[in-house]
């Protein structure tokens, strides 16, 4: 006998199913193939757009941690990738294998602290280096202020980092050293924007409100364990972004980037340190000198400070965030002002005298017969902050590098080999509408949808070269490559200014890639956006683009502001799908 079942849900259409008392006997029936829209072109999206990382750089899983298909072109590539992944995922220690060498001062003890679940950092109410998920770096600099036409204060390119602490300041140190910055002296608050300088109301014309918050961060001068202590400084926060797909960005050619700069230059002011408008060519500051003297165009980090992934944020971070040395980095990420303060601290000297005599002590390199000699050693050893001061001197004091060339190579296979997740729902009507609107209101001017990668003859650092030589291989064939891939990162690889309240140091920030960001809530439990996680959702992120009328993106954001609710939702859904 049939019984009618009905299922209703608030907000859902009523739908009917039927079942019978002998369902169990009949079973559910076997699976029948359905139609798939994935990978199929439609009236808005090409077939390629389902693969934002191209065929060689996309995973079809919803994942920020998958290897690219190109990893399989390497001998034993998956094992290399998995071993490299370990250095990203797990915490470093002072001296315990397999991840040793943490300290003497560190920003974080692991990569995963700042890239939770491989994603973007999560917004924090306090700065604690031990909080896993805190992806913030402290940016401490001497401000030179300026104002937009509508009164937004910002700091200019003439706003250098303070020199007393490292560019990415450390708040942790091994006993007995005092961390360069005492976390107890760091203060963060998140006030609301009460009024937009651009004049836009904090609600849309249909009445839907939006709320903008921004970080106010200060560090007490006494919190700096340095000599001298800094003066006249401001502090900002910069959060991590996802690490997937960076190998693909490395494969974009300098010529193609140059064409993009040249195309934008007539219409928007570009960072004069990057682009010489009069010469219609790269400015001198756009060139970066790599470790072997090779000159390359800067393309990585918000501030455009790095030119190769093999010398980029991750390759550096595995050394300077942890202070774990390797063969081509036999020196510390420290400052003379910190070394001096530690050498002058009686508690530090006393502790080393009491605990450093044993040859097995981690403090033994600093140990000597007299306090004055200990102090001298502390200042010398902690001050080994470049190859000239370190190198063989470092090895003589501390022994072999803490990360082997092989381990670093595996780490870079992993880093370069992280895939971009495939796009989702590109056949959905709202997503298609969102894509049309995204273009129509001008977002694509900066969030350039597509690039074609070049030959991808990537630059190789000295550590990987040393490893390649040790196994008789060509270093230029040991990492995943992405030649001539059509990719969809949604960035122009150019810096722009939004002139937000308490904006990024100098105001210039490279357009952040949008690919894969829509999976953040699903994969990491958070979806904070913009460089300091001030935006809690897509709408807030977009409306920050309209904070000042001087923003490069003001006109586009204004058009977004004037869309209907349905249209705004479509744009958001599009952003969540690419």
């Amino acid at each position: 006998m049939k019984k009618i079942f009905y299922l209703t849900a608030i907000g859902l259409p009523l739908f009917l199913t039927s079942c019978s008392s002998d369902d169990a006997d009949e079973g559910l029936g076997t699976l029948v193939d359905g139609e798939t829209a994935f990978g199929v072109a439609n009236d808005v999206f090409t077939a390629d757009e389902w693969y934002p990382g191209g065929q060689l750089g996309t995973t079809t899983n919803k994942s920020y941690s998958d290897p690219v298909p190109a990893v399989n072109t390497l001998t034993n590539g998956t094992a290399l990738f998995k071993h490299g992944e370990d250095f990203f995922e797990h915490l470093y220690t002072y001296s315990q294998e397999p991840r040793k060498g943490l300290g003497p001062a560190w920003v974080r003890s692991s990569c995963i602290h700042c890239h939770p679940s491989y994603g973007h950092g999560k917004r924090q109410d306090e700065y604690k280096a031990n909080t896993i998920g805190n992806g913030y770096l402290l940016v401490v600099y001497h401000p030179t202020e300026a104002f937009t036409s509508d009164g937004v204060r910002y700091t200019t390119l003439s706003s250098p980092y303070i020199s007393e602490v490292t560019g990415m300041p450390q708040t942790k140190a091994m006993t007995p050293f005092k961390a360069p910055i005492d976390e107890n002296g760091i203060h963060i608050s998140w006030p609301k924007v009460e009024k937009m300088p651009s004049g836009l109301p904090l609600h849309f014309s249909d009445g839907e409100p939006y709320e903008l918050i921004y970080p106010v961060i200060t560090i007490d001068q006494m919190a700096f364990n340095t000599n001298p202590q800094p003066t006249n400084y401001e502090v900002r926060l910069e959060s991590t972004i996802g690490v997937y797909g960076t190998g693909l960005l490395d494969a974009i050619s300098a010529d193609d980037m140059k064409a993009q700069y040249a195309a934008e230059a007539p219409y928007v002011q570009l960072n004069p340190n990057m682009w010489d408008k009069e010469a219609n060519d790269w400015a001198a500051g756009a060139w970066y000198t790599l470790a072997d003297g090779t000159k390359a165009i800067k393309k990585f980090t918000y501030a455009m400070t790095r030119a190769s992934l093999q010398d980029g944020a991750g390759a550096n971070a595995i050394w300077n965030i942890t202070n774990v040395t390797r063969s081509d980095r036999r020196y510390l990420y420290t400052t003379p002002a910190w070394a001096k303060a530690q050498a002058e601290d009686p508690e530090v000297i006393s502790y080393i005298r009491q605990n450093g005599a044993e040859a097995t002590s981690l403090l033994h390199p600093y140990y000597a017969e007299t306090d004055a000699e200990i102090a001298a050693k502390v200042e010398t050893l902690l001050g080994m902050n470049n190859a000239a001061k370190g190198g063989d001197n470092y090895t003589a004091a501390f022994g072999a590098p803490e990360m082997s060339d092989k381990d670093y190579y595996d780490f870079m296979v992993w880093h370069r080999g992280l895939a971009v997740p495939a796009a989702r729902d590109l056949d959905d009507a709202a997503v298609k509408q969102g894509k049309r609107l995204f273009k129509q209101i001008g977002c694509e001017a900066c969030h350039r949808p597509s690039w074609k990668t070049g030959a991808d003859n990537y630059w190789v650092d000295n550590s990987i070269k040393a490893y390649a030589a040790s196994i008789g291989k060509n270093a230029n064939e040991l990492l995943p490559r992405f030649p001539y891939q059509t990719i969809y990162p949604y960035t122009d690889m150019v810096q722009h200014r939004l002139f937000m309240e308490n904006d990024i140091r100098t105001g210039w920030c490279r357009t952040t890639p949008l690919w894969g960001r829509g999976l953040s809530l699903r994969l990491t439990g958070a979806q904070d956006r913009l460089h300091d996680c001030r935006a809690r959702n897509e709408v807030e992120a977009i409306m920050w683009h309209a904070y000042s009328k001087d923003s490069d993106a003001y006109q586009s954001a204004l058009k977004f502001y004037n869309l209907t609710k349905e249209e705004r939702d479509a744009v958001v859904k599009f952003l969540q799908s690419i």
Binding site: M1, K3, I4, F5, Y6, L7, A9, I10, L12, F15, T17, D23, G27, L28, G29, T30, L31, V32, D33, G34, E35, T36, N61, K62, S63, Y64, S65, T78, A79, K82, H83, D86, H90, L91, T93, Y94, S95, Q96, E97, P98, L102, S109, S110, I112, P116, S117, Y118, N130, I132, M174, T175, Y351, N355, L362, R424, R522, L523, T524, G525, A526
Partner: protein
């Protein structure tokens, strides 16, 4: 208000109100009425029952009591079988997921899959975390705040036993790290390895540890407790805590202070285990939720859902779920790259076994001190088995709604392949010579030179 709406939505989706009540066995009655009163009641009636949670670590005697010859320790075949077993399981889990993804599910199939996912949440994930939390409480209570002069050997033994039980439940939860464990970074917080012993020593150098030590994940959780409670695979003796430690580098540390540290770490572990439990419970257990809240720990998704309702509501528009569809939730359970059955099979095969066995990275042997590696690996596969069979006893248990039942009906060949792969992975892992650290030492010709390893059994 929002939560109420969402729960109603979920309940409505799962409710099956028959037009004519002629089911004598209807367990969904409430004061004589067939109308469910709450979303949780509706859900529980819908998902039926599963065998009660139980697990005994004495079952692992079958691993440690086997006799192995010198030739066995030199035989690569055992490790290859274990790794191949994991690889095969990965492939089968992937195939099972993709078979559903590429299909057009009938309404009945879709309803059963939704019920099955809900049942899996309620009968596997929540009980596992509850058992984990209960064991952590036992561990914490055994230690209490007893001083070194007050504590008895029975307290230490009880704590050690609870530690092993908690450890087993933790390993049996690693197939569903996706969700609260991932979003709240619980894994690195309670299971970071190796223990950063020199950092721990820093905190004892002044004779007493500081609360600041409790903020660094590299000296917290299971491995910090293991260091204090066990030495050379044995429970520490009560007399040990009344003198200084004899461990290299720790000779000036009063073991009584280590005991205090373990007590503090155990309290932190309890909070994190509570966090996992209440994050997944349909209705959080009040007293445990209070502890989580007091600790300032999160327990809901960004959209203020419990992780259970978040998964049960998968694909429900307006519910606030992070899952875009029902099959998205299935993917999270079975083949997601992180925090799924496939992910832990991969971690066991290519990482926990693969790094030391296949690649010779000897220091990647996990749990070398307690010789518990193989048990840990097997428990990881048991976590997959439990998800598949919809109960905490895996193939030995029963569940009215499970992926086993679902796939047996909709894709019987795949179901058999998955189940064969699970069984083979378990037997392959258990078939490796014990202890794992000695096996990989013999094969690689490398020594696990660590102060904590005094002697590898011959």
């Amino acid at each position: 208000m929002k939560k109420t709406f969402l729960m109603i939505a979920a309940a409505s989706l799962l409710a099956t109100a028959c037009s004519k009540s002629d089911d004598d066995n209807n367990q969904n009655t409430n004061n004589g009425s067939t109308t469910p009163q709450t979303a949780e009641e509706v859900l529980k009636a819908k998902i039926g029952t599963a065998s009660a949670a139980s697990y005994s670590i004495t079952n692992d005697m079958d691993i440690s009591s086997k006799t192995w010859t010198a030739a066995d320790y030199s035989n690569h075949a055992f490790g290859e079988t274990a790794m191949n077993g994991c690889d095969a399981l990965i492939n089968q889990l992937d195939e099972a997921t993709k078979a559903v993804l590429k299909s057009k599910l009938t309404p009945a199939q879709e309803e059963e899959l939704r019920t099955t996912i809900a049942a899996t949440v309620c009968h596997v994930i929540i009980p596992t975390y509850t058992q984990l939390a209960d064991a952590a409480v036992k561990l914490q209570q055994a230690l209490g705040d007893l001083s070194a002069t007050e504590i008895k050997q029975s307290n230490i033994d009880e704590a050690c036993a609870a530690f092993k039980t908690a450890r087993a439940w933790w390993e049996m939860s690693e197939a569903f790290l996706g969700g609260a464990a991932s979003d709240f970074d619980v894994d690195p917080t309670i299971d970071s390895w190796p223990l950063n012993r020199d950092l721990l020593l820093d905190y004892f150098k002044d004779g007493k540890y500081s609360d600041e030590a409790l903020e660094d994940a590299s000296i917290l959780g299971f491995h910090a407790l293991e260091f204090v409670l066990f030495r050379n695979g044995q429970n520490r003796k009560v007399a040990d805590f009344q003198v200084n430690d004899t461990y290299k580098g720790f000779e000036n540390v009063p073991a009584a202070e280590e005991l205090k540290y373990a007590q503090a770490v155990a309290k932190e572990l309890v909070k994190r285990c509570y966090q996992l439990q209440v994050s997944w419970e349909l209705t959080p257990t009040a007293n445990r939720l209070a502890v989580v809240k007091a600790a300032g720990l999160d327990y809901q998704t960004k959209n203020k859902l419990s992780f259970s309702w978040n998964m049960i509501n998968a694909g429900v528009s307006g519910s606030g779920t992070t899952f875009s569809s029902l099959t998205d939730a299935l993917q999270q359970l079975l083949n997601n790259s992180e925090g799924s059955c496939l992910a832990i099979a991969d971690e066991v095969g290519s990482g926990k076994i693969g790094h030391p066995f296949a690649e010779g990275y000897i220091f990647y042997v996990e749990s070398p001190y307690s010789y518990n590696s193989i048990v840990d690996f097997r428990n990881n596969i048991h976590s997959i088995e439990n998800i598949w069979y919809g109960n905490p006893q895996g193939a030995k248990g029963q569940a009215e709604h499970s992926l086993h039942n679902f796939y047996t009906q909709v894709a019987p060949t795949i179901a058999k392949s998955v189940e064969t792969a699970i069984a083979n992975a378990v037997s392959g892992i258990a078939g490796m010579p014990y202890p794992f650290v000695k096996y990989v030492e013999t094969l690689s010709g490398k020594k696990f030179e660590d102060d904590e390893i005094v002697e590898i059994p011959e």
